[in-house]
Assembly symmetry: C2
DNA sequence: GTGAAAGCGCTAACAA
DNA sequence: TTGTTAGCGCTTTCAC
């Protein structure tokens, strides 16, 4: 049940069958029809391995993620997938498995096996060894979310996003603004949290506002972490605590909201909260946020590497969109 | 930069190099060392296509999901991935892309391309055509979550899970219990919601309790859907509304909780809520639930197909664990 | 518009 | 322990 069988049944040569099956020009229409029909009848299933060997193209791209079970990554993978499917490419997933997974082996063993024609890296920072090993394969590469030295990057401008958030809060009259961010031990690009925090600090400084160290809280980029950070941040008396909290992710913002509720704080009366992401849950609870579209970012990244695989020069990728979505959790500070 | 180069450099034959590289026995240790070193120096990268062609084994398994950005699927993929990586297999992801994605093409074009040695299907029901096309490839297959005719299945016993939940509520003294379930249009196995609902109904009937039709609400298996269903369910007066709600997923339970809060209902005083899953968010808000472990299910599924690929007979897979986790959202009904 | 033949990079008998 | 020899199933010149 290879191309050969079809050839013998139709009385054609393997070459012609191959051409017909791939829809190449310069094959008689009748021939194409015939070949297709016979292929169907025989239940022909092409072998990507053979095609890959012959052409050097695997028609597959690798997507490398720190972990999968995170809103951003899952959405981005979905976006990449859409474009790959459209182009007839398969998606092979390389999950680094968080801090626990032994990255090294994953890298060497699989990613370098010529199984894919290109790589999309999600929020990854590679060390020197990893970088050079990957470069070795000469594959087109791009990273989503967070700049990586020497690689093309698609993602929002984190500094600008932070500035937008602060601007919104400032505009409402807030002056006492705290930040919840921190490192995501699950492996998010370390640059992202820093850039958001710096963007926050810069914007505050530009407004002549000082931020006490204790107002730079660590929410570990998770719901539970946000709740914990919020509990600490909001424990003090009304005059001592912030009137607004800017969270570097919606999940943390949701956590802060939970903490506020537990403390009986009215939102947005006594506390305003703004996040980043555009998480579905945020919409449901009315969370104000700077929404980004990881799926779109995934699509853009996929198109970029696909183009490169097809020989295009690695064009410049513009920053991804991020839009302020004002909902119910931000308002004018009380008093 | 293939096996050939290494052969010429070392003065050995391709065969020996191949053996050495794969760590086969009956190769002199010195030879192995030499080959390995030269391979490293040359920056040798094996070609999975060539190996696959020669052996007929791709060292990859496909994972088919309705959508990726769902708690259960993401976790399960992670579990599958762990085992695959351990076995040196790659994971190729087939995302059906929900109701929008054109399933047909996805199926025929990719999954059948001999790119993988086995398939793990997540919560999928296949129609006849799909089934027969897949069978055609003679690949080991298994489905996670929800029974599928003619295929091995790993997952919790949904009927038993529902009975456990109802039992918990009954034990607390509840008699007026509503159910939030419904179809997940994103493509969850249609059987799962039905089995949970039937399990609920059966358990209620066994306790001599009747459930009004309006207390079988549709939460679309999402947070927002749960909130909407909850809003309707809880809108009536205290004597008319249920004292407890059993949700077929934690996400919906979270939504119901939100609805309850918006209506000012005390939990668990005026309303008890129990879910299914063991979602992280549930833990943070203190949601009582029947926890399952999709990652473990993924691991089990992966091991099962891997064993089959290695020639083992398709053994029986026992039902996955599901454990009642009592937290703060369920309690004795007021009054 | 179609065919013949070489070869992609590796593995697997079978010898030696 | 190592080498020789065929392929695996497809694509791709180069002829016809």
């Amino acid at each position: 049940m290879g191309i050969q069988e079809i050839a013998t049944v139709t009385g054609l040569s393997k070459a012609t069958v191959s051409r017909a099956l791939r829809g190449l020009p310069s094959v008689a229409e009748t021939t194409v029809d015939h070949v297709r029909r016979v292929a169907d009848e025989l239940g022909y299933v092409p072998s990507s391995a053979a095609a890959g060997l012959a052409t050097g193209r695997q028609r597959a791209v690798g997507v490398v993620v720190p972990v999968i079970d995170r809103w951003f990554y899952a959405k981005a993978i979905g976006g990449v997938d859409v474009e790959l499917r459209r182009a007839g490419y398969d998606l092979v997933l390389y999950n680094l498995g968080g801090p626990g997974g032994d990255r090294d082996r994953a890298f060497r063993r699989s990613m370098l096996r010529h199984r894919v024609d290109a790589l999309v890296l999600l929020s990854l920072v590679l060390d020197e060894t990893e970088r050079s090993e990957l470069e070795l394969t000469r594959h087109p590469m791009i990273v989503i979310g967070g700049p990586a030295p020497g690689l093309r990057n698609v993602g929002v401008d984190d500094v600008a996003v932070a500035a937008t958030a602060v601007g919104h809060l400032l505009g409402l009259g807030h002056r006492r603004i705290a930040y919840v961010g921190g490192q995501d031990e699950a492996g998010m690009n370390v640059a992202v949290p820093f850039r958001r925090r710096d963007g926050f600090l810069d914007a505050m400084a530009a407004a002549g506002l000082e931020v006490p160290r204790s107002w730079l809280a660590d929410g570990r980029f998770s719901f539970a972490g946000g709740a914990a950070a919020g509990a600490v941040l909001l424990a003090e008396s009304a005059s001592e605590r912030p009137t607004a909290v800017f969270c570097a992710s919606d999940e943390m913002a949701l956590g802060v909201l939970l903490a506020a509720r537990r403390l009986g704080l009215r939102v947005p009366g006594e506390l305003s909260v703004i996040g980043i992401d555009g998480h579905e849950y945020g919409a449901a609870v009315g969370l104000t946020t700077i929404a980004q579209d990881p799926e779109a970012q995934g699509r853009v990244a996929a198109r970029a590497v696909l183009a490169e695989v097809d020989g295009a020069r690695p064009g410049v990728v513009p920053p991804a969109a991020a839009t302020l979505v004002v909902r119910g959790t931000t308002g004018v500070p009380a008093g």
